[in-house]
């Protein structure tokens, strides 16, 4: 009787998750949505703590300790992180969720009676959950490392496809062997654990840093899947539904992002951005024109319409506030300033939107790819700030280019294009950009922040 009542309380938590997610997907209700989902989680935790159980130690002190410690670490990390490092943070949090799934499944194996066959649905699910948890754990850590920049794309294992295939076959083979043993041998579980952890590393390592948004989203759906599998193990509906909701949302986001890059998920996963030296057009004698700050400042002031194309460079340099400052100065002079947002600009879907929102840029000024492209021919100046691949015409013109087919912002249609860039180094995809050599293109070299600061000063004085 009591159990039925408690189980129906779980239903409330599930409804809160669903309503929360639904509200998160619309700008006006997103804040409530997040709070509702958070409340649902708190409610589910309380219900679980009070759930009637028999023959157990309860261990409330240990549980309280874990809950408290996790909450503190999570809160501090979330408070401290700078807005530009959000993708890394989400990736790291995601990895922790995966690690938790992994630990639970290890304990489930550890607790399994010695003298029983493992060939049952429960253990098959546990085995699979262990694998999924491990991938999302080490995979997320690698994604974190790549976004932080201490893991380089050039550090790739030899023959990644071959290694991954062999590992995967080994993991499947070992799982089948393990489950068919007459009784559990924990050493094989440890072997499975190690292989799965390694697979998470080798799975993400060959994927270029530029594709990390897709990967994080995919790993997020893995963590959800892991939680759902754990829900099956415990016949717990909250875990099952919560996990599946995340799995579904992660999958949809992954697909949306792949579509934005006009690449298949498969293409992303096998590491499509292996930079070929062929695509680098550096051998030809081409000269770029450098922009002078004073000229640019005056040109901007007398423009009618200016577009800013932000990219990851803007995030790295933390220059979003200066961007908005320049915007305000120019608006005061009667210039229309808008921002063209490429769907995969930055390292996370909607990364640029979040950054610019932090700098108080009003939402209606952010223009998406299609509308911006219609607007470029009537634009006086386009400022490309720390973006590269998303404005590379090779995506349209050069079938041999790794980014061929990706929709780009057609900034070359504007009357004048100024590219703020640290150096002539190619972007994340490692390919040269013909835009820089265009007739109406000029370069402003330097860190985005210092260049923008100088430009703001110059516009203010001019």
């Amino acid at each position: 009787m009591v159990i039925t009542i408690v189980d129906s309380l779980y239903l409330i938590a599930i409804i809160l998750f669903i309503v929360g997610l639904k509200r998160l997907s619309s700008p006006d209700t997103a804040r409530d949505g997040n709070l509702i989902a958070a409340f649902g989680m708190g409610f589910a935790i309380v219900v679980t703590l009070l759930y009637p159980m028999e023959g157990n130690g309860n261990n409330y002190i240990w549980i309280a300790g874990g809950l408290l410690m996790g909450s503190l670490v999570g809160l501090i990390a979330a408070k401290r992180v700078v807005m530009t490092a959000m993708p890394e943070m989400v990736s790291l949090f995601n990895g922790l969720g995966g690690a938790s799934t992994m630990l639970i499944t290890i304990v489930e194996f550890y607790n399994y009676p010695d003298d029983q066959s493992l060939l049952n649905g429960q253990m098959i699910t546990t085995d699979f959950a262990l694998f999924v948890g491990c991938i999302s754990f080490t995979g997320s850590l690698i994604a974190f490392g790549k976004l932080q920049g201490f893991l380089r794309d050039s550090w790739v294992l030899p023959f990644p496809k071959f290694v991954n295939m062999v590992l995967l076959i080994a993991i499947v083979g070992l799982s089948i062997f393990l489950l068919n043993l007459p009784s559990l041998d924990f050493n094989y579980v440890l072997l499975l654990l190690v292989l799965s952890l390694i697979y998470g590393i080798t799975f993400v390592t060959p994927i270029g840093g530029g594709d990390m948004p897709v990967v994080i989203s995919l790993l997020n759906s893995f963590t959800g899947l892991g939680a759902a599998l754990a829900g099956l193990i415990y016949s717990n509906q909250v875990m099952l539904v919560g996990g599946i909701l995340v799995g579904a949302s992660g999958t949809i986001l992954t697909i949306l992002m792949c579509q934005a890059m006009n690449r298949s998920l498969f293409n992303v996963l096998i590491g499509g951005f292996t930079s070929t030296s062929l695509a680098v057009g550096g051998s030809r004698e081409e000269v770029v024109k450098e922009a002078s700050l004073a000229d640019l400042a005056i040109q901007l002031k007398y423009s009618k319409k200016v577009y800013i194309v932000p990219g990851y460079g803007l995030a790295v340099a933390q220059a979003q506030h200066l961007c908005s400052e320049l915007d305000n100065l120019l608006e005061a002079e009667g210039v229309t300033v808008k921002y063209a947002i490429h769907p995969v600009a930055g390292r996370m879907p909607g990364h640029m939107n979040v950054l610019l929102a932090e700098a108080n840029v009003p939402y209606p000024k952010l223009i998406d790819l299609e509308d911006a492209n219609k607007d470029f021919p009537s634009t006086d100046v386009v400022l490309v700030i720390g973006a590269n691949d998303v404005v590379n015409p090779a995506a349209k013109e050069d079938p041999s280019s790794p980014i061929y087919g990706m929709p780009i912002l057609d900034v070359e249609l504007a009357k004048s294009i100024v590219i703020l860039k640290r150096s002539m180094n190619p972007g994340y995809a490692g390919i040269q950009n013909q835009l820089f050599f265009g007739e109406r293109s000029r370069m402003l070299f330097g860190d985005a922040k210092s260049s923008l600061q100088k430009l703001v000063d110059e516009v203010g004085n001019a």
């Binding site: 929360g20 759930y51 999570g74 807005m83 969720g97 938790s100 959800g224 099952l240 949302s249």
Partner: protein
């Protein structure tokens, strides 16, 4: 095979829930504007910490003297809880910026 069918039979209700949750999840989340991709991903990420429930159940069922399980379970709870609290807090911070802007 037999074991699998038996498992399906015993858990048919859970499998119903699973399939319906997949459909519901895709339906709820499709058609999201790009601006909200990051907060949505981060919010969903927080929900994936729901595995903390499993860790709590596991701890409550463990013997009080079984230290390997207690330690692993403790870590499981702490890690998942970091994911939950950190995830919601980060999402809240991101969404806060949207709010502030709207008032201006």
């Amino acid at each position: 095979m037999e074991a699998l069918i038996q498992f399906l039979g015993e858990n048919l209700q859970m499998i119903y829930v699973l399939v319906l949750a997949i459909l519901l999840g895709t339906e709820v989340i499709s058609k999201v504007p790009t601006v909200l991709h990051t907060p949505l991903m981060s919010g969903a990420n927080a929900i994936s910490g729901v595995v903390v429930i499993g860790a709590i159940i596991l701890m409550r069922q463990a013997d009080s003297g079984n230290y390997p399980v207690l330690i692993l379970g403790f870590c499981g709870i702490a890690l998942a809880m970091t994911n939950v609290v950190g995830g919601y807090a980060v999402t809240h911070r991101m969404l806060d910026m949207f709010k502030r802007k709207k008032k201006d």
